[in-house]
């Protein structure tokens, strides 16, 4: 029998390509995946590698329909990226049922490698715990001991709020309240007003993408930052900083698993990526590249694209590329690697375009991520 089913390896990139998270991953992630395939040589075990992609519009039902169709009728072997936790959870469950590999780079919830982990599911770029430790920790350290959360009303938001709260509380702070807003809200004014009248020192934005950008903008409009309250953009990346502009974003503290201007290796990828997409990569783009690359390597190592074997290889192989230094994959599917605490530069400070961050510190992987043994994943004994 053929080592590679159907004579080719087909990877599906399923993500938000037109919605609030389109900049966060979007079409550029597809590009990153293609770069990985090209860099790998275009074939694995002498079989061609193909990338397909689709827009799931942040709707879990649409995503799982597409995934189902990919698996059932289009011989897709693995699905990656999966922006938005609700989507990622749905597709991971389906992939598990269909015995297919999924590698999540876009979504954040720790449930992917916790309660809802899958033997064939991997979580690559970051997660809510890493964000809580990074950004949450940094603000608590600066004296932000009372928090109010603005939370995106779905799995991701809950997870981020919960983990940040835990972190705040364990550091001796308290949470004075929270309010949930639907995904893709354009007017945050009344939520912000609530946050303002709560008197909390830190307003934790447990949302992402444009929602965060809008909240930040409107907070400035309502004089909230000027009034002495601090904003914690718990999930904010280079892409959103670019969209919002340094003027408005300056001084924000954030956590990413990658920054293009970190060193030679990361700059090299950044430049190539920029040439193809017109923008610098964030951790999702870089993470997607890394995930595709690692998946192909695993096939090569396993000598087949059969799911069990590849999953085994993925669990065993160390990850070491421009994205993940000292990366390793836990039994729960979590790829553990170092994260970076970053701060947005002031408008004058940038030396070149897209040079937005100062690196405040490196968060070692074992600190950033939950110990697989304590993750609540049933696969970890």
């Amino acid at each position: 029998q053929d080592a590679v089913s159907d004579g080719k390896v087909k990877i599906g990139i399923l993500n938000d390509q037109s919605g609030v998270y389109a900049d966060f991953g979007g079409k550029s992630s597809v590009e990153a995946a293609k770069m990985a395939v090209e860099d790998f040589g275009g074939t694995v075990l002498d079989m061609p590698i193909e990338i397909v992609d689709a827009d799931h519009q942040n709707k879990p039902d649409i995503a799982s329909n597409i995934a189902r169709q990919w698996y059932d009728t289009e011989q897709v072997d693995a699905i990656m990226e999966l922006t938005t936790s609700s989507v990622a959870l749905a597709v991971q469950a389906l992939s598990r049922e269909k015995k297919k590999i999924d590698i999540v780079t876009g979504a954040a919830t720790t449930d992917l490698t916790g309660k809802q982990c899958s033997p064939y599911g991997f979580h690559w770029a970051y997660d809510t715990h890493a964000l809580a430790v990074g950004t949450g920790g940094a603000l608590v350290k600066q004296g932000g001991d009372s928090w109010f959360f603005l939370t995106a009303d779905y799995a991701f938001g809950y997870s981020l709020e919960e983990q940040t709260s835990e972190f705040v509380k364990s550091a001796g702070g308290n949470v004075v309240g929270s309010v949930r807003h639907p995904l893709a809200t354009n007017d945050f004014s009344s939520f912000l007003l609530q946050a303002q009248s709560s008197g909390a020192k830190v307003i934790g934005l447990a949302n992402a993408g444009l929602d965060t950008a809008n909240a930040i903008k409107q907070a400035a409009e309502f004089g909230i930052t000027a009034g002495g309250q601090n904003l914690a953009a718990l999930l904010f990346t280079l892409a959103e900083v670019h969209g919002l502009g340094v003027e408005a974003a300056q001084g924000l503290t954030l956590t990413e698993g990658y920054y293009w201007n970190l060193d030679e290796q990361s700059r090299e990828f950044g430049k190539r990526f920029f040439e193809r997409t017109g923008s610098m990569p964030n951790m999702v783009h870089a993470g997607t590249y890394s995930a595709v690359m690692q998946y192909l390597k695993a096939i090569k190592q396993a000598g087949t694209d059969e799911t069990e074997a590849v999953a085994k290889a993925l669990h065993e192989m160390p990850v070491d590329d421009f994205f993940a230094r000292n990366g390793k994959v836990g039994a729960n599917g979590r790829m553990i690697h170092d994260m970076y605490l970053l701060q947005v530069k002031k408008p004058g400070e940038s030396d070149e375009p897209w040079d937005y961050f100062n690196v405040l510190s490196t968060i070692p992987g074992d600190e950033a991520y939950i110990d697989p043994a304590k993750s609540g994943c049933e696969l970890v004994q």
Partner: protein
């Protein structure tokens, strides 16, 4: 902190003001709908899309021609109005003879097409449009920090509403419009070009929506779907107000905006649905709506 009904007065007044701002948009949009419905008997489902178009045109004018906010506030509505007029002339006008439902369905399709196109071209994500520098910043009202721009929105929308009201109540054109609302055929028999009037009306209604869109751009970002959910709320506003009067549309718009704002203080979970609940109650008590004339 001073409390009112167990709520800090600051939060109370703040939400009240935000409600007023939302109410301004409801009023402007339901006014446009009322004008169009009054004469054409068409429920303009594309109103939300035209609102979005207004914002987008302003954005594109800025990006490609460097036309600033102030100019866009006039140019964008004109462009959208002309577009609306063309659509009325070439397509919508064929449907007047039919059941009014077809007008609704047509404009629904139009809305999907416009929104779909912009979504295709610009993605569903919003794009920033900055507050004009003259209106940047804010002022501390004591109970809250009021962004000047939002204050401006309240004022200008009130002016636009009153202006429209005056246009319709106090001018010759307005008297044609009102008369045609009552009996279009007779007005036409008197030698008034009612088809042209209809075209103008639709264009004007669309322009009003676009005007609201430009006003909204700096607040809500410019996004292809900015109007699609709003329009449904505005429908509810219109049902509550009743289709009879222009003034009714305006007053109900502000009133419901404020009600919604207050709900956010007292029972935030219900703030999304309070307008619909009010609509249901009004329908049960007064099927013609608060200011409606037909029963």
């Amino acid at each position: 902190m001073t409390m009112i009904f167990g709520i800090p007065i600051q939060a109370f007044l703040g939400q009240l003001l935000i409600g007023l701002i939302n109410g301004s948009f409801y009023a402007l949009l339901s006014l446009g709908l009322a004008v169009i419905f009054g004469l054409l008997r068409v429920i303009n489902f594309a109103h939300g899309a035209q609102y979005m178009l207004g914002a987008f045109v302003a954005l594109l004018l800025l990006q490609y021609f460097g036309i600033n906010y102030w100019l866009a506030l006039i140019v964008a509505p004109v462009i959208v109005g002309v577009l609306g007029a063309i659509i009325e002339r070439t397509m919508l006008s064929r449907l007047y003879k039919l059941d009014h439902l077809y007008g609704l369905l047509f404009t629904f399709g139009l809305a999907l097409t416009i929104e779909g196109t912009f979504r295709y071209l610009y993605g569903a994500a919003g794009q920033p449009y900055s507050v004009p520098s003259a209106l940047a910043g804010g002022t501390n009202l004591g109970f809250m920090f009021l962004p000047i721009y939002r204050g401006w929105v309240v004022v200008i929308s009130l002016i636009a509403c009153i202006g429209t009201w005056l246009l319709i109540e106090k001018t010759k054109l307005g008297s044609y419009l009102r008369a045609a609302t009552e009996n279009a055929v007779l007005v036409q028999a008197f030698g008034v070009n009612v088809p042209l009037l209809l075209t103008f009306t639709y264009g004007f209604g669309a322009a009003l929506a676009a005007f609201a869109g430009v006003l909204a751009a700096p607040i809500y970002q410019v996004s292809p779907l900015m109007g699609s959910n709003l329009i449904i709320v505005v429908f509810a506003v219109v049902v509550v107000g009743g289709m009879g009067s222009i003034m009714g549309a305006i007053i109900t718009g502000y009133m419901l905006g404020i009600t919604e704002g207050l709900t956010k203080v007292f029972y935030p979970e219900a703030s999304n649905i309070v307008i619909f609940v009010i609509m249901a109650i009004v329908l049960l008590i007064r099927p013609a709506g608060l200011f409606g004339r037909d029963a």
